[in-house]
């Protein structure tokens, strides 16, 4: 409560004005006493004068009040208010105990004694008011708290009420205080009340003591009036004083209740305003506007942010004006969305706006139906997702550019790779042929040597032709066959085909092939190419292994996720974990003679079968390559599906790569 205190400006002004008026009043009256000018002291000859003490007290109270309002030094307040408290309390003691403490004529003897019981003594009411005022002024703490402002406010109300009662009392001639004293007290009371009003703590916009203070103030005033009437000669329970008392007792609480209700309404309104502000700020920050759409009248109500998004001027919006803003390409979508809305369906759509300056905004609209029967309306939100869309588009562009560059780089690598493969045997051919010519051209032709070089020429030419054949096998676009393939059986066939080759490489092949493996749908020859490639890779990886058996294990199993898996495990040179992804890049090779195409093409074949191919290094020596193909009744191979494109990754490519 103490922190977060806000000060409203206007009570400060009121308090300042009050303080200045009161100081002036005190100063003028004191001046009157000094220059012995009765009109200044008592206004009219038959009225009681304002005593010097009262004038002094006004001055001091005014100074204390002013000091508080301008946040002046604390000691000034204590000094002034303390003096007033001393004077007023002493006077009260004098009145109550009928003694003379000698304080009345402290500032000189009184030469006017109209209606004064003892010369120079303040009227009882005046003394009481000054006592309340001074205590209230001294109570004003820094910083303000609600409790202290309650007490200060109470003091102010009482002083105001007493002053007002005294003013009213003149008509009955019952007031002992001077007329300007009474007015001065009203002003002083208002000033102190205003001081209490300055405090405003969250979340209460007005002080909670106010209604009570009003009740007490009114009641005090009424009691004062009632008392004045009695002093004026009415019997205590005669009609007029009784009516005044009863009416006052009813009106006081009604006033208090009214103030309370007004306060509560104000608090609610403030809370509502705050929440509205929060909402608007949140809408602004998230670029989300809200709307409602009354289907019976077709009138759309927008939030401020929605106006900003649509760049509409404030004012009523019709459905047609919104439809006009929609981008031409999205018009059908928008109208379809609207018609679904009229049927009462929930909406969640993205569409575009075409703004006045031809710029395009991307919007995301979510809406649902509220209310019942024919009288329903839509409540919804529209979010401006232009920035997100634009960055996504930019990202896509970069991605496709990257893919293009990657393809071109691959093509360059492919050319170099092919050139290397073909140039090697060509170099042999040219050298052999040159040697052959030289051998034959010498004086004593070396026919035997020439024959040898010619043989080598033929062998190298065959080698070159092999390279070309291999390339064609890799790159030719075969029409893919769809048939049911038993992977175990297909693997057995490959194993038989390769048995000689593996024996020559001193590789021990162990097969763990599952019986009754459910068949997968696909191209048998392509899948066998993949198996052969994996086996040959494993064999090559073990070519340099001499310290352990070159063991190769090939396994087929059915996986839990309804796919069939084939695993090839070797004990070869293996690869580093960070090489795992590159293995499948076209033209990446760890072999001296490889072209680095096999694994890339294998992966592309497997992905065409909706499967995935991956590799992990073994914990021991070697690596394990696996592929899994889902059991699916749908044909995985589309029209023209072949092995031609070794670079393109299937939709699962990212997933498979992430697995590695």
């Amino acid at each position: 409560m103490i922190d977060n205190v806000e000060r409203r400006p206007w009570p400060g002004y009121v308090a300042k004005v009050s303080a200045v008026l009161v100081i002036m009043l005190g100063a003028i009256v004191l001046l009157g006493w000094i220059v012995k000018s009765p009109p200044l002291i008592q206004l009219l000859p038959n009225l009681p004068p304002m005593t010097r003490n009262a004038a002094l007290c006004f001055g001091l109270c005014g100074i204390a009040l002013l000091t508080l309002v301008i946040d002046g030094p604390r000691w000034v307040v204590c000094l002034c208010a303390g003096s007033v408290a001393f004077v007023s309390l002493t006077t009260i003691i004098e009145i109550v105990f009928r003694v003379d403490a000698g304080i009345d004529e402290l500032l000189g003897s009184s030469f006017i004694s109209v209606n004064l019981r003892s010369p120079g003594r303040m009227a009882p009411l005046t003394a009481v008011c000054f006592a309340f005022s001074s205590v209230a002024l001294m109570l004003v703490p820094r910083p303000f708290t609600i409790t202290s402002s309650l007490l200060v406010g109470l003091g102010g109300s009482i002083v105001t009420a007493f002053g007002a009662a005294a003013v009213v009392g003149y008509w009955g001639g019952v007031t002992l205080a001077a007329l300007h004293t009474s007015f001065g007290l009203v002003i002083l009371g208002v000033g102190i009340l205003a001081l209490a009003w300055r405090v405003e703590a969250h979340p209460m916009p007005t002080p909670p003591w106010l209604p009570l203070s009003v009740v007490i103030g009114v009641l005090t005033g009424i009691v004062g009036l009632w008392r004045a009437l009695i002093l004026g000669g009415y019997a205590p329970f005669s009609i007029l004083p009784t009516v005044v008392l009863v009416v006052g007792c009813v009106v006081g609480p009604i006033f208090g209740l009214t103030v309370f209700l007004a306060q509560r309404g104000n608090a609610q309104a403030t809370a509502l305003r705050r929440s509205e502000t929060f909402l608007q700020e949140a809408q602004h920050l998230s670029r989300t506007g809200s709307f409602s759409w009354d289907l019976s009248t077709d009138i759309v109500t927008f939030s401020a942010q929605a106006y900003r998004i649509y760049e509409f001027e404030a004012g009523p919006i019709s459905f047609a004006s919104i439809a006009r803003m929609t981008h031409t390409d999205d018009m059908l979508l928008f109208l379809d969305m609207a018609s679904r809305g009229r049927r009462g369906e929930d909406l969640d759509e993205e569409y575009r706006l075409c703004m006045g300056d031809q710029s395009v905004k991307h919007l995301h609209l979510v809406a649902h139906q509220c209310g019942a029967n024919e009288n329903f309306e839509y409540i919804g939100a529209i979010q401006d997702i232009t920035d997100r869309r634009l960055s996504e588009e930019a990202l896509d562009q970069v991605r496709s550019e990257l893919a293009r560059v990657a393809r071109m780089t691959s093509l360059g690598t492919l050319t170099a790779s092919i050139a290397h493969e073909v140039n090697q045997p060509l170099a042999g051919i040219v050298t052999n042929a040159g040697t052959c010519l030289r051998m034959l051209a010498s004086d004593s032709p070396n026919v035997e040597g020439a024959r040898e070089t010619a043989k080598r020429t033929i062998r190298d030419a065959n080698r070159a032709s092999e390279v070309i054949k291999r390339l064609r096998a890799l790159f030719v676009k075969n029409a893919a066959n769809n048939e049911l393939v038993d992977l175990s059986e297909a693997t057995r066939e490959v194993a038989v085909l390769l048995s000689n080759e593996l024996q020559r490489s001193q590789v021990l092949l162990r097969t763990k092939l599952a019986d009754a493996l459910p068949p997968v749908l696909g191209d048998r020859v392509q899948l066998q190419q993949v198996i052969m490639n994996l086996l040959m890779n494993a064999s090559d990886a073990m070519a340099s292994v001499n310290d352990r058996p070159r063991q190769l294990v090939i396994t087929t199993t059915r996986d839990h996720d309804n796919s069939v898996r084939l695993t090839v495990e070797d004990v070869g040179v293996g690869f580093l974990p960070d090489e795992a992804n590159r293995l499948f890049e076209a033209f990446y090779t760890t072999k001296n003679r490889g072209m680095g195409i096999g694994l890339s093409v294998s992966r592309s074949i497997v992905e065409r079968h909706n499967g995935r191919l991956w590799a992990v290094p073994n914990s021991g020596p070697g690596a394990t390559f696996s592929f899994a193909i889902p059991l699916s009744t749908e044909s995985p191979l589309g029209v023209g599906g072949g092995v031609g494109d070794g670079v393109t990754r299937g939709p699962n490519g990212q997933h498979a790569a992430g697995k590695l």
Binding site: G434, T453, N592
Partner: protein, 123 residues
């Protein structure tokens, strides 16, 4: 009789290892072929070799690495690089690297002889 100068060939490709020595002997050199840089360094023929025909990309120690290794040992044998990969640009790079001639496979016997003569003349 003066023995013919020894030209050593280091290439991982078997076709070259088989065909080049015969051609070099036709040119009048003595020739030895090695399948790797390591094999050549271990052969004990490094001192006797007058010229080295060196494949650039080989498993293990590459051609340029072998040349640097020989320079480090202060056995500066003239080198003729041969390569099956690469184009004009990378050929220039190799010249910058070692100052040696570089032949792209397949190369003619005439260009090989010219390169050998040039390499031997420099030293």
């Amino acid at each position: 009789m003066i023995s013919p100068p020894l030209v050593s060939i280091v290439d991982d490709d078997e076709s070259i290892r088989e065909s080049l020595p015969d051609l070099l002997r036709e040119f009048g050199f003595a020739a030895m072929a090695f399948s790797s840089a390591e094999q050549f360094l271990a052969s004990g023929l490094v001192d006797k070799t007058r010229c080295l025909i060196l494949d650039i990309s080989m498993p293990g120690m590459s051609g340029p690495k072998l040349k640097r290794e020989l320079s480090r040992r202060q056995q500066d044998i003239p080198v003729v690089f041969i390569t099956a990969t690469g184009d004009e640009n990378s050929r220039i790079n190799e010249k910058e690297l070692g100052g040696a001639e570089c032949l792209l496979k397949p190369f003619s016997d005439v260009s090989l002889l010219a390169a050998l003569k040039a390499a031997l003349r420099v030293n």
